[in-house]
């Protein structure tokens, strides 16, 4: 089943007489034959855009993060992904004084492939925003869906879109409690390192 469902995004020339698919694990294998066991570990990164709570001035549209990732991915089946993202932006207070805010985001994503290369995922993030005005941290929970494209034998691109629930936290810049939701899109890549 595993290789059957990945057949739809097969690419590259393969040899042999039986139908075959190109595996992101780096080799062409006959459809229906089992996985030639290799570790599904990957390293990667993503670039995220968000709109809503937790971006820039508390609310808005902007670059959320650049996030190196690592994890295990079995295309067509499931994945687990850890990420540590970081970014910085400037906040302005009531007196128009600029302050640099450095953010970091430790996340765990768990996904399951439902339709071939399409997957659904759930995520948890612990986000920190550090600045002179005060360090803060909060939790975010998310759900989303995504897809991926193989671009080289061991490399693929990912795109996922989701909604994140930003848990309540006090933001010293705007002097009020912040909570809400955010639409989030992440474009990433992963390279199998086996």
């Amino acid at each position: 089943m595993f290789w059957g469902v990945t057949a739809s995004f097969a690419q590259g020339a393969v040899s042999g007489s039986s139908p075959a698919v190109m595996s992101p694990f780096g080799q062409a294998v006959p459809a229906g034959s089992g996985l030639n066991t290799r570790l599904p570990l990957f390293l990667g990164g993503s670039f995220g855009l968000g709109s809503g709570a937790g971006v820039g001035d508390g609310h808005g549209v902007g670059v959320c993060q650049i996030k190196p990732t690592l994890g295990a991915w079995m295309p067509g089946l499931a994945f687990a992904r850890l990420g540590y993202g970081f970014s910085s932006y400037e906040e302005r207070d009531g007196e128009n004084k600029k302050t640099e805010v450095e953010t970091s985001d430790f996340s765990i994503d768990l996904g399951v492939h439902l339709l071939s290369e399409f997957y659904v995922m759930g995520s948890y993030s612990r986000v920190s925003a550090l600045s002179e005005n005060g360090d803060i941290a909060w939790n975010e929970w998310g759900v989303g869906f995504g897809t991926f494209w193989i671009v080289f034998t061991r490399t693929f691109l990912t795109l996922d879109i989701g909604y994140r629930w930003v848990r309540e936290h006090y933001d010293p810049f705007i002097d009020k409690d912040v909570s809400g939701g955010r639409l989030q899109m992440n474009l990433g890549f992963a390279v199998f390192v086996y």
Partner: protein, 209 residues
């Protein structure tokens, strides 16, 4: 409502400026009482004497002023949770008291980055909540500037009182310098140290390293 200034810290060891700042604070009317609250062992700072020894030295340094109180509440708490958690617990325990944190200008700069080391693997920052929820009395420390009172107010933080040379206080002693003096020469009581505290240090062979 009674105003109580909480003077927390390691008191490693207690010195004359600790007592002087407390009395000046009382004399200036910034509070009605000062509670000394030595901290338990800390995650962020290597302490040189045990909580019991630091508490014992504080007892020796106390002068009998009825407006000064020594409390082991924070030590009894066991784990070091940082000032915000401790002060909020105090507020809950003594709702009829308005607590103010009495702290040095050196410490003030770091407050926005304080956190609870035992919550969420140390990522639960609460310094900004302390600034918002707890009034501060900040005293002068050598080499550290007076806090920007206007900026503090603009940030929406709670009331800030300044205790500097103009109010009759100018801190000159530090526990670090006293420990260093003891390392260099244990035969002389370092400046700023009460003789009774010095005797305790020698008797219990403290601050050897």
């Amino acid at each position: 409502m009674k105003n109580v200034a909480v003077l927390g810290g390691a008191f490693d060891p207690v010195h004359k400026d600790h007592m002087r700042v407390a009395r000046t604070c009382l004399d200036r009317g910034f509070c009605d009482e000062v509670w000394f609250m030595p901290s338990p062992d800390r995650w962020d700072k290597q302490l040189n004497a045990s909580p019991e020894d630091r508490f014992a030295m504080l007892e020796l340094a106390f002068s009998g002023d009825k407006r000064l109180f020594l409390s082991d509440l924070e030590i009894e708490q066991g784990d070091y949770r940082g000032s915000y958690v401790f002060l909020m617990n105090l507020k809950e325990k003594f709702p009829e008291i308005n607590f103010r944190l009495l702290t040095g200008a050196d410490t003030y700069e770091g407050i926005p980055h304080w956190r609870d080391p035992l919550n969420f693997y140390g990522t639960n920052y609460n310094g900004h909540l302390l600034l918002r929820d707890i009034e501060l009395i900040v005293f002068a420390r050598n080499g550290y500037p007076q806090p920007d009172m206007e900026q503090h107010k603009r940030n929406g933080y709670a009331q800030l009182y300044w205790l500097g040379p103009e109010q009759g206080f100018n801190g000159v002693y530090s526990s670090t310098a006293i420990r260093r003096s003891l390392l260099l020469n244990r035969n002389v009581c370092p400046q700023g140290l009460e003789p009774s505290v010095y005797d305790y240090i020698i008797k219990h062979d403290l601050y050897r390293e």
